[in-house]
């Protein structure tokens, strides 16, 4: 089976957009959400649009959250007709570009939630960038 273009993982160059309010941090996040899972499941996935508003590359090195036993940055890849996940230890964000975390592509793998998370619940996940920047982001659990 042929996997067409990995459309879900798209780097959008948006040089024309003006950097938003979080200029001081240099990185902003939109549409941060965690998919609600069926009850009793131990694996969740977080998605977002990550934006580098600076003229220098930024590197997402890790993620963490007190709401989960562990958090890893993963990417779903399809190889030989099979989907699997690979750990993305370093993701470079190009200057003035967005990186979309979406189903079928990059996602935060959230393991063993400390409490049951239902649609509407907020959960904070810290995005850790190379160079020491830690960005706490509130994700919303959605169906």
């Amino acid at each position: 089976m042929r996997w067409r273009h990995p459309v879900f993982v798209c780097l959008i160059l948006a040089l024309t957009l003006v950097p938003a309010a979080s200029e001081e941090a240099g990185v902003s996040v939109r549409d941060a959400r965690v998919r609600e899972t069926p009850p009793g499941m131990t694996m969740m996935a977080g998605y977002m649009e990550l934006r580098n508003n600076t003229s220098r590359p930024r590197v997402l090195a890790a993620a963490s959250s007190s709401g989960f036993e562990s958090v890893m940055v993963h990417r779903t890849v399809v190889k030989d007709g099979m989907a699997g996940m690979v750990h993305a230890s370093q993701i470079e964000l190009a200057p003035n570009a967005s990186l979309i975390f979406a189903p079928g592509g990059y996602h935060l793998m959230l393991m063993n939630p400390k409490r049951t998370l239902r649609a509407g619940d907020p959960v904070v996940i810290n995005l850790e960038f190379r160079g020491g920047l830690v960005l706490p982001v509130t994700f919303e659990v959605r169906k």
């Binding site: 089976m1 996935a45 079928g104």
Partner: protein, 220 residues
Amino acid sequence: MNERSLKFSIMITTVALAAMLAGVWLAHIYREHDSRVVLLPDQVITLFPDPKPLTAFALTDHKNRVFDLASLKGKWSFLFFGFTHCPDICPTTLAVLASARDSIAKNTVGAEDIQFIFISVDPNRDTASKLGQYVDYFGTGFLGVTGDNEQIANLAGQVGAAYQVAITPGMENYPVYHTVAVFLLDPRARYHAVFTPPHDAKAISKRFKVVRELEAGNAT
């Protein structure tokens, strides 16, 4: 070539390209809206002209009932192979299928004769009760099915579903690889068609409507 004629030829090329793209786009729109849609070739579904009857297999569903060839008779079955520890592709695909079910249910024929079978290739972790919790979340028409490795391989082999469970001693979250295609079996338990990713609920329900109409036409 002087600058002016170069500009002119660039312009002509641009116009020609735009016209070609518009043609492709219009053909696509036409296909999406025409109920007599031609299914082959298609990027959503591959329909087999001579569907292959499945042979015996023995699995168990999430209510500990036998799931075998007889469970497929009389219903259209959408098969998806996965595992419940899968945070991304599996819930995404099942949510798309649930949405496709809702869309199919609005159809005049309804969704009474369709079922969605989530086959766990990870029986080591996916017990019947765990599968029950999982599929119940996606609503009516969903069954969770698993069994011993040999029988999973039997059914997977019959539709050509690739998977690999990389159980690693001491590793709780061992990786599982599996195909992302959705397999369509007809009410005579034949491998009728396959949906290829990326999956879209509307596209699936539209194609399914045509497949069901074609099959009804063949039967009479």
